[in-house]
């Protein structure tokens, strides 16, 4: 039985019933994954009719989110594994830090696998990866020297980590139905952001014009039509606000006094101060650049 899918379907037809079963308002908080499974095992008996209705509609579900997340974590984990096993020269103390980052990604894989397993879901196959982007030699490589040149390795690492941050962010709305899973995803999301920032700092130390945060002033490292989706939409400088009366529908308004710097600098800061989400479709497409077979 696939319990995450079950819970998600239940949420789609009857959010109130779902909340009684899920951890959203504390029903299962503290019980952890095993408790979730035990309670969810009782679902079909109590909500059989409802589920029959539910299976007619399949929105983006918690299961979809965790399956996507696992694919991205497989990608990152395998990337660092291959890099650390390669002849790539890591300057200074950087190798030790990348070993830590690799361990984090392995931990993320283990956490997501465990969650999916406990829910009864079938784990997706771990894809085969080619980080040169040549699809195992069947097309021209995007990053032929990814594991030979440290600068190229850092560029690909930055693209993967920034994608990870945006991809998790794009899924919080789906996960809001479950306190435990939302918190876990947000905590992983913050670690990916720390990775991304550290890698950006290493690139800056090598002379790249790049900041720890995604900035409109960063030098472009993407290729149009291929990797530019990684940052597409990140330049947003205005946020839509969920106000009921529509009086102040966005931030900032023309009169918001935000920064003591110049107006041009304020525009850059507005772009930097918010990381934007990425859709599951875009994240999958970016991951697919490095997957073959």
């Amino acid at each position: 039985m696939n319990i995450l899918q079950l819970l998600a379907d239940l949420d789609a037809v009857d959010p109130e019933a779902y909340q009684r079963l899920s951890g959203r308002r504390g029903a299962l908080t503290g019980l952890g994954q095993a408790g979730r499974r035990a309670v969810a095992a009782a679902v079909p008996l109590a909500f059989g009719t409802m589920l029959t209705k539910a299976y007619g509609r399949r929105p983006n579900t918690v299961l979809d989110v965790f399956t996507l997340a696992l694919t991205l974590e497989y990608l990152e984990s395998e990337f660092y594994k291959q890099a650390l096993a390669s002849t790539l020269a890591f300057p200074g103390n950087s190798k030790a830090v990348f070993q830590q980052i690799y361990k984090h990604e392995q931990d993320h894989v283990a956490f997501l696998e465990q969650t999916l397993r406990l829910s009864g879901a079938v784990l997706p196959d771990k894809p085969r990866f080619d980080f040169t982007g040549s699809k195992n030699g069947t097309q021209a490589a995007l990053f032929p020297t990814v594991f030979q040149d440290f600068g190229t390795f850092l560029k690909v690492a930055q693209l993967l980590e920034d994608t990870g941050v945006r991809a998790y962010k794009g899924q919080v709305g789906t996960l809001i139905t479950d306190n435990d899973l939302l918190e876990a995803a947000v905590r992983i999301h913050a670690v990916e952001a720390r990775h991304a920032a550290h890698i950006r700092g290493l690139r800056r130390a090598l002379g790249a014009n790049v900041r720890d945060w995604v900035s409109p002033a960063d030098e472009v490292i993407t290729t149009k039509g291929v990797t530019d989706a990684v940052y597409a939409g990140e330049e947003l400088t205005r946020q839509q606000l969920p106000v009921v009366d529509q009086k102040i529908p966005f931030f900032p308004t023309e009169t918001t006094q935000i920064v003591t710097s110049t107006p041009a600098k304020a525009q850059i800061s507005l772009g930097e101060a918010f990381d934007e989400p990425m859709s599951d479709v875009t994240a999958s497409a970016i991951a697919a650049l490095f997957i073959y077979g």
Partner: protein, 233 residues
């Protein structure tokens, strides 16, 4: 145009300042209640301004995050105004960037909260030596790591998908700030103490509840911060 003007930062902060100044007088406070401020979640609870109640629900959570953004913005503003002389090349520019981001976050939450936003707070930074790079960066690390753990803990407490989505846009920027400051202080150990190293949550970022965060930052607040109204699950 008048609507826009009344929502300008200047106009609002002046209103708040005068509100706080008169809040100590019973007569004035009664007037404010009569004027319709009775539902304000941040009204003082006594004739002396000794407590700040952040309120309940999503509004309370936004005021909680606003408090942390106010704290960070005020801290970096002070750093940028009188920077330590031993800052290294480029560091002041970066800390100015952080100041600007935190001011954006602060004003963002104020705009989202509108009339429910807390007043401007004068924080107590007496434990920080603003003429020392090491002291300033250590404080910055504390604030940023605390902020990341706070966002990690607050996200699940929101009920509005729209607000959660907006809050998560800021959470990762705070994590980037934290990483930046750590790279200045401890580049060979950038994740120590902020990523779980073992157990079921190994590899996940550390997380703190609102009471834990407020307790950790209590020395910086000029009065008691009440978070008991915030959701806990």
């Amino acid at each position: 145009m008048s609507e826009s003007a009344s929502s300008s930062l200047l106009a609002r902060s002046m209103r708040r300042r005068s509100f706080f100044r008169v809040a100590g007088a019973t007569v004035a406070a009664s007037t404010l209640v009569l004027a319709g401020c009775v539902k304000d979640p941040v009204e003082p609870t006594d004739t002396q301004v000794t407590t700040l109640n952040l309120g309940e629900g999503d509004t309370g959570l936004l005021n909680y995050l606003l408090l942390l953004e106010q704290l960070e913005a005020a801290f970096y503003q002070k750093v940028v105004t009188t920077p330590p002389t031993d800052l290294q090349a480029g560091e002041l520019a970066a800390l100015t960037d952080l100041r600007d981001h935190e001011v954006v976050h602060r004003e963002f939450f104020r705009q989202l909260l509108g009339s429910n936003a807390q007043p401007t707070i004068e924080f107590n930074f007496s434990t920080i030596n603003f003429s020392s790079r090491a002291s300033v960066l250590a404080a910055a690390r504390t604030f940023e790591d605390l902020g990341v753990a706070a966002y990690n803990g607050a996200a699940k407490l929101f009920t509005s998908r729209e607000i959660l989505a907006l809050v998560s846009k800021i959470a990762s920027v705070e994590a980037r700030h934290a990483a930046f400051i750590r790279d200045l202080i401890q580049p060979t150990d950038p994740f120590g103490g902020v990523v779980e190293g073992s157990g079921a949550y190994s590899g996940l970022g550390t997380v703190l509840t609102p009471p834990q965060v407020i307790a950790a930052a209590t020395s910086f607040f000029p009065y008691t911060i009440v978070v008991s109204g915030l959701p806990t699950a």
